[in-house]
């Protein structure tokens, strides 16, 4: 009689544990990401266990974003905030303060060797580290570790997702390197409006030249524009690329004057909407390298 009671109690207890575990699994963890590229990465690794809120959405400009009260509310409900760092999100500190955020801030670029760049005689840190797939791997590691730390139950899921993602990144790296190798060395030059491809250029051997500085706020001088036109003409750079966050009219002007083709849209700081050509991090790379190859090889 005592033994039976004991087993019934144990079974009930086990059932309760199972139910409570199931209940926990049904609630995804709320996290925030500062912009769409980060948001996609977090979603890829977190899967169904996370609900990701992204502040700067597709085609948005993360350099000059203006947070809204709704943003503050979402942030206050998040357990983790993923930011890029390296100076990209100048608007984030104010938002953190005003929302009373009590969760963990994770800087996805921790451990990366940042590039420096010169902008109007000032040396600043180039924040676009994600444009180098090698850095992308570090982003993934940081995100995975942060998710595990906040939700140890999901460790297996996170590690599996991250592994899959890393595999995809490694394959894309090969694709990109092969595509570049196919281009004749003297044609590996691109003009684009936004100085966002420094890491890409350094990693894969394409030279990017831009008429404006790193952020979208500075205005061009006649001398800068003249320099670029001269360079395009002298070195016969074949293509100018539109970039999805800044004014295209200046680029069109340069294209008109130099005869360089407008080669399509490159995605640098933001993903396209999900139905567009660059809805995820890896799709972004696929779109960019295909667009570049097409313009530079013809």
């Amino acid at each position: 009689m005592n033994r039976r009671l004991f087993f019934v109690a144990a079974a009930a207890f086990a059932a309760m544990l199972g139910v409570s575990a199931g209940v926990q699994a049904a609630e995804p963890m709320k996290v925030s990401a500062s912009f769409s590229i980060l948001g996609d990465m977090v979603k890829q690794i977190g899967g169904d266990r996370v609900e990701v809120f992204t502040f700067v959405g597709p085609n948005g400009d993360a350099h000059v974003y203006e947070p809204t009260p709704a943003d503050a509310k979402e942030l206050s409900e998040s357990k983790i905030l993923f930011i890029n760092g390296l100076g990209l999100e100048g608007w984030m500190t104010r938002l953190e303060k005003s929302s009373g955020f009590k969760g963990t801030v994770v800087t996805a670029t921790k451990g990366i060797t940042p590039r420096k760049m010169v902008e109007e005689e000032k040396t600043i840190t180039d924040p676009h580290a994600w444009q180098d797939l090698g850095n992308g791997k570090i982003y993934v590691a940081n995100i995975r570790d942060a998710l595990i730390a906040a939700d140890s139950d999901g460790k297996a899921t996170y590690e599996a997702n991250a592994q899959k993602f890393l595999h995809g990144i490694a394959q894309m790296e090969m694709t990109v390197k092969q595509a570049v190798a196919k281009l004749p060395p003297e044609r590996r030059k691109i003009i684009t409006t936004h100085d966002a491809f420094g890491y890409f250029g350094a990693a894969y051997g394409i030279e990017f030249i831009a008429p404006e500085g790193v952020s979208t706020e500075s205005e061009a001088s006649a001398k800068d524009v003249a320099k670029i036109i001269t360079q395009i003409k002298k070195e016969k750079i074949p293509a100018v690329f539109l970039e999805n966050v800044t004014d295209s009219r200046l680029l069109e002007q340069i294209s008109r004057e130099t005869g360089a083709k407008i080669g399509g849209t490159l995605f640098s700081d933001a993903l396209s909407p999900p139905d567009g050509p660059a809805g995820t991090y890896l799709d972004m790379f696929r779109n960019n390298i295909e667009t570049m190859s097409a313009a530079l090889s013809s």
Binding site: G60, V64, T216, S221, K223, L250
Partner: protein, 288 residues
Amino acid sequence: MIHAITDPFVEFAFMRRALVGCFALSLGAPPVGVFLVLRRLSLMGDAMSHAILPGAAIGFLVAGLSVPAMSLGGFIAGIAVVVLAGIVTRSTMLREDASLAAFYLVSLALGVLIVSVKGSSIDLLHVLFGTVLALDDAALILIAGVATLTMLTLAIIYRPLVLECFDPSFLSSVSRLSTPTHFLFLVLVVLNLVGGFQALGTLMVVGIMLLPAITARFWAQDISNMIVVAVAAAFAASLIGLLVSYYANLPSGPAIILTAGVGYLASMLIGVQGGLLWKLMPRRHLEA
């Protein structure tokens, strides 16, 4: 030396276009600015730049970065503010500056609301309002068209406009043209602002409208001479400003406006009409 001045324009198409655009703007905007200054409406230009925002924003939402759509939207918004402010001025005890301020602030708030509801975080102001170095054909045609229309309209309403500034009581006692003249003038202001913003950015247009006009006060006594001096000052500021932007590697819009500003300061000192230096030097008085 001459080569230093002409080389950049000979070599680069974008410099030529910029110069043409600035010259066209310098023909239309400074005369309007002269009248604005004389009527003590100098700050109106800045106010109107905010008033046109919701219209331009709606144009952008409907048709994207289209010069005609945004210009039309901006123009309608500007005219609406001008008309409403005028009606309020004429039928209540509010003066023109107060009623205009009220409407442009409402308009601006509406514009910001529309932009933020749409959710795009692209700096809309930056996108809507361009730069002199990137003038495409549509923009040049727009500026040239506005300049032509401005000159024609000013020629037609010149006399009633002058009288409206000098002695509005007299004008309304001898003619019914008072209100239409006033309205047409404000339409010209909005036109120049809208056309210019599209192509050249807010700073440039309001700057080119007002600074040469203010400068002209120190050189001319007669209103028609003032207009001529203002246009010439605007031409000079455009040319020199573009060269400064080219040689000293400074942003073009601010370079042009700062040059105009330097012109203003210099005129304040040495201008023939009331320049400070002349006031400090005692001169013998005239016969009568």
